[in-house]
């Protein structure tokens, strides 16, 4: 099942979009990301719902203080691989903030197939194929990331991680664990300091044992 996220400050039409996709594409699920107020909230929700591709309404500043394109820019800073599409009621080319490439903009009318109008249905089908393709790419990259994560984990165990590697390791851990691809651990044990502390603790333990044996 492809998991498509949907963000809109006035999601009146969400049910219509969801039903439309459900009728036509059994392998696609449209998930409303609601109950969020900040960009961070939305990011958490994306992790929580294991979203693989995202649709975002453009005009939301009246409700959240930021528009869809700003939100996408933030999300992509955190999750480079998650492809995000902006949806708008006005003609797509009228968004001029330059934060989202024109190929990733769609009019909301894409969901209106005008009573099975052949051309409209084709357009929707093409768009959903693009979404599925984006989701597949996202999955593939996650797999790649998992391999990279495991490699970094080995290096970490042998104490070979540079500061840069350490940052990458933590970022990968966050994404992968959020998507349930690796076991989730308390954040405090992920740092090198924790390793050092643990090492110190073990050394102290050993010293105590040694002294006790003597």
């Amino acid at each position: 099942m492809y998991r498509i996220g949907y963000i809109d400050d006035q999601p009146n039409q969400y049910e219509i979009y969801r039903k439309k996709l459900q009728r036509r594409f059994k392998d696609v699920e449209l998930i409303l990301l609601d109950g969020c107020n900040t960009k961070e909230d939305f990011l958490e929700k994306i992790y929580e719902q294991q979203i693989e591709v995202l649709l975002v309404d453009y005009k939301m500043a009246g409700t959240f203080g930021f528009n869809g394109s700003t939100l996408i820019s933030y999300i992509n800073d955190q999750m480079r691989d998650l492809e995000c599409f902006i949806l708008t009621a006005v003609e797509q080319e009228n968004i001029k903030d330059g934060l989202v490439a024109s190929r990733d903009r769609r009019s909301k009318t894409i969901f209106d197939t005008e009573g099975d109008d052949e051309q409209r249905v084709n357009e929707l089908n093409e768009f959903v194929e693009i979404l599925k393709d984006s989701a597949t790419v996202f999955r593939k990259r996650r797999e790649e990331k998992k391999e990279k994560y495991l490699k970094l984990l080995e290096m970490r165990k042998s104490g070979q991680l540079s500061l840069q590697d350490e940052e990458e390791y933590l970022r990968l851990y966050k994404v992968l664990s959020s998507y349930g691809m690796i076991e989730k651990l308390p954040e405090s044990i992920l740092t090198s300091k924790f390793d050092e502390d643990l090492k110190g603790l073990l050394e102290l333990g050993e010293a105590i044992l040694k002294k006790y044996k003597e």
Binding site: N12, Q13, I16, K19, K20, R23, N37, Y58, K59, A61, G62, T63, F64, G65, F66, N67, S69, T70, A89, V90, E91, N94, I95, K96, D97, S107, K108, T109, F111, D112, T113, E114, G115, D116
Partner: protein, 782 residues
């Protein structure tokens, strides 16, 4: 020496026969015309042409007399042998329109395969031909069509019951198709019958029949989607004109009736008639009575009538008229008039009620077949010109000329494209030009009198002219006087005598301009200038309002577009709920929601485009609270949907003379700015979205206090808020298309100034957030 005498037969290659047909009916429009003609000639009173996309075929039905086997063998199947060659009249007394016996090739033009059911009094016959059989090296006699006896009815054969267009199916089922008639089923169509083709053919059919002439022949033309009201072909009609000229040629006589519908003298009619010198006997002709004229052929310079009897009607329509001319010539108002020739064509020719192309066809070389443009170029004088002849323009004249097969010297050209050139056709053109000449003469006689009258009537102009002449005389006298003095100084001995004559010239004879008269003239001139200026200002205001409507509609495009999208989505969703889920409850909910959106849409419509409604373009005294009541309530409803509160307070006793759209536009512009501010991307969220409007009475007008709880002006304008009222200054920067036109606040200030008021934005310098404006009307109270 002759021997062995025998006959040898001419043979026609089947393919050549087909080619001859093709030559004669080369265009799809022509092919359809031939088929309609056949139905008309068969005395049918209904004709249907249905293109079924789903069946990929064309059904053609008529309820004419049908053909019996003999007619079918001897005429229908014999190329070039038409039953219509010899007998012109049908049983139903129609003049037959076809003659060459090639109409059936029209079917070949349309499709590859043709099946026909024809039912006459003698019973039904089915006839099937494959036009491809004509190809190859066969003699015509070798090509066969198949014929069967059948008892199928017309409706069964045309499968009316199974038509995709169910609305038309039920209409056609109700038509009188129970007895005789003909049905064609055409398969493997040669053309792409898309919407463009359909539209072209429809236009062709609309112009096929002359307006209001045939009431016993109905044409239906439709495809799977054509609604019933659009399927019936209605002849293009003319409902407004300045002049109507009907004419008829009977034996050696030409009668013309000229009907004037161009002038309106209002209640000044008698005065104008008297003062302009228009004969009182002419009066009825300005009130719906046609002026009759009668000429013999000799009188119009023709030796004899070469053609026979015919008639026609021509309409003259101005496409535009300046205000000055409208006043001068007492024209009726023609605002909004379209160029009829584009829609209706120019002067068109009909033979026995059917159009003869291409005469009068807009865009065709033969549109101006009477060469009216060249005639006008040779004599370009205006209507009021005292000596030059005014000539009508080719695009100002529409009409129709009815000829018949019974006429002489007007045969169809062999390629069915027009009439054969020759003495008959030339005479027809000359007679038409005579009719046009008479109309032009009639119009110009009136035009010249009215133009001369306008000059006399313009007292101010006359007075100005008198004083100008006086001034010139005075100037000349002064020059002469100066010369005399100079001469006197040069020759002092002549002085005394010389002065005798000149200086003793009686003071009455010296040209003098009276300063009082000059002052009065200047005052009058000023008054007139002010009047003209006021007219220009009013016009400017109208244009400004139209511009504002455009700007405001554009500002709210996002909202309007969202609503139209939503209405579409809900309807589509209802459609799918029924089609795929059989869920009536969901569909019902969707439709209910679409209705809610439609209501919102109507509200937007009310505050945008409707602001230029005619009744809002009247400047009169209004009670402002009453005037704005509905308008503000509509805004409240709209804003409520976005959790924006609009509060309005208005003194009860503000009476103010204004155009309602002016005040509404000011408020719309301010609200538009507030909405943009509420939606500005700031990374923060506003606690509340509120707009407060308060209108307080002032001495001669009122003050509008406006404030919102938005983000306020951007730093660019914060310290100098007045700059935003300049043209092309915009504070909207939401990144969406609404970057702002930079005209909104300019219009607000301009409107206030026009009402002797002003705008004050200084509060914005000090407030931390929000926007405030004080705008006065009727005086500079702010």
């Amino acid at each position: 020496m002759r021997h062995n005498e025998r006959d040898i037969q001419f043979n026609v290659d089947a393919y050549t026969a087909k080619l001859i047909g093709r030559e004669n009916v080369s265009k799809l429009e022509g092919a359809v015309l031939e088929i309609v003609k056949n139905a008309y000639d068969a005395d049918s009173n209904a004709f249907c042409l249905y293109y079924s996309k789903s069946h990929n075929c064309i059904y053609i039905i008529d309820n004419g007399t049908g053909m019996e086997e003999r007619t079918l063998r001897e005429h229908w199947m014999t190329i070039g042998n038409s039953s219509k060659k010899t007998s012109f009249k049908t049983v139903g007394n129609r003049t037959q329109t076809g003659a060459k016996g090639i109409g059936r090739f029209a079917l070949d033009r349309i499709s590859e395969r043709c099946e026909m059911l024809t039912i006459s009094d003698k019973g039904g016959l089915e006839w099937i031909v494959n036009w491809a059989d004509f190809d190859g090296n066969k003699n015509l006699s070798e090509v066969k069509a198949r014929l069967y006896d059948t008892d199928e009815t017309l409706k069964e054969y045309a499968r009316v019951e199974f038509w995709e267009n169910s609305e038309m199916s039920s209409i056609v089922q109700k038509l009188e198709l129970n007895e005789t008639g003909t049905v064609f089923r055409l398969f493997d169509l040669h053309d792409d019958w898309n919407s463009e083709t359909m539209a072209k053919l429809r236009n062709h059919l609309e112009n096929l029949l002359p307006p209001d002439v045939i009431d016993d022949f109905v044409i239906y033309f439709f495809d799977d989607e054509t609604p019933a009201d659009a399927a019936r072909i209605v002849s293009a009609n003319i409902d407004s004109y300045d002049y109507k000229m009907s004419f008829e040629v009977e034996e050696e006589q030409l009668r013309i009736h000229i009907l004037r519908n161009e002038f309106d003298f209002g209640n000044q009619e008698e005065i104008v008639f008297q003062e302009a010198g228009i004969d009182m006997k002419e009066m009825p002709y300005f009130h719906g009575e046609a002026k009759p004229l009668k000429f013999t052929f000799n009188e119009i310079g023709e030796k004899a009538n070469l053609i026979g009897n015919y008639n026609g009607v021509l309409y003259f329509n101005k496409i535009s008229a300046t205000e000055k001319d409208t006043a001068k010539f007492y024209y009726k108002d023609i605002k909004g008039r379209k160029n009829l020739t584009k829609e209706f064509g120019g002067v068109k020719l009909y033979r026995d009620h059917f159009r003869v192309r291409p005469y009068g066809e807009y865009g065709d070389n033969d549109f101006d077949w009477l060469e009216l443009s060249a005639r006008r170029n040779r004599s370009p004088a205006g209507l009021g010109h005292a000596t030059g002849q005014w000539r009508v323009g080719s695009e100002q004249l529409v009409g129709l000329v009815n000829i018949s097969r019974e006429n002489n010297n007007l045969e169809d050209a062999a390629n069915r494209n027009g009439i054969q050139e020759g003495p008959g056709f030339e005479q027809l053109k000359r007679v038409l030009i005579t009719v046009i000449n008479e109309f032009e003469h009639d119009r110009q006689v009136i035009g010249r009198k009215l133009a001369a009258y306008a000059k006399v009537k313009d007292k101010l102009q006359a007075e100005l002219e008198r004083l100008r002449q006086l001034a010139e005389e005075r100037k000349r006298w002064e020059e002469e006087h100066a010369n005399c003095q100079k001469d006197t100084q040069d020759t002092p001995e002549k002085d005394t005598e010389g002065n005798e004559d000149d200086n003793h010239k009686s003071t009455d004879e010296i040209p003098v301009v009276d300063p009082k008269e000059v002052l009065a003239l200047i005052d009058s001139m000023q008054e007139r200038q002010e009047q003209e200026l006021q007219e220009l200002q009013d016009e400017n205001k109208m244009l400004q309002t139209l511009a504002t409507t455009g700007i405001i509609t554009n500002m709210f495009m996002h909202e309007i577009r969202t609503l139209t999208n939503n209405i579409g989505l809900e309807l589509d969703s209802a459609y799918e709920a029924i089609k795929y889920d059989r869920n009536m409850e969901d569909a019902f909910e969707n439709i209910k929601q679409a209705i809610v959106f439609k209501r919102h849409f109507a509200s937007w419509f009310r505050v945008t485009i409707e602001s230029v409604r005619k009744d809002k373009r009247q400047r009169r005294m209004y009670n402002i609270k009453e005037m704005l009541g509905d308008y503000i309530n509509t805004w409240k409803n709209i804003l409520d949907k976005d959790d924006i509160k609009l509060n309005m307070e208005c003194d009860d006793n503000i009476s103010f003379k204004c155009f309602p759209f002016d005040i509404e536009n000011v408020i719309s512009n301010l609200i538009s700015n507030s909405l943009a501010s509420f939606e500005r991307e700031t990374e923060k969220v506003l606690d509340k979205k509120e707009i407060n409007i308060s209108l307080k009475k002032a001495e001669d007008g009122f003050i509008l206090y406006y404030e919102d709880t938005g983000w306020g002006l951007t730093p660019k304008y914060k310290d100098r808020p007045e700059v935003i009222t300049e043209a092309f200054e915009s504070d909207k920067c939401t990144g969406d298309n609404e970057e702002g036109t930079g005209m909104g606040m300019w219009i607000v200030r301009k409107t206030a100034l026009e009402y002797e008021g002003d705008i004050d934005l200084t509060d914005n310098k000090t407030i931390e957030r929000g926007f405030k404006a004080k705008i006065s009307f009727g005086g500079k109270y702010v």
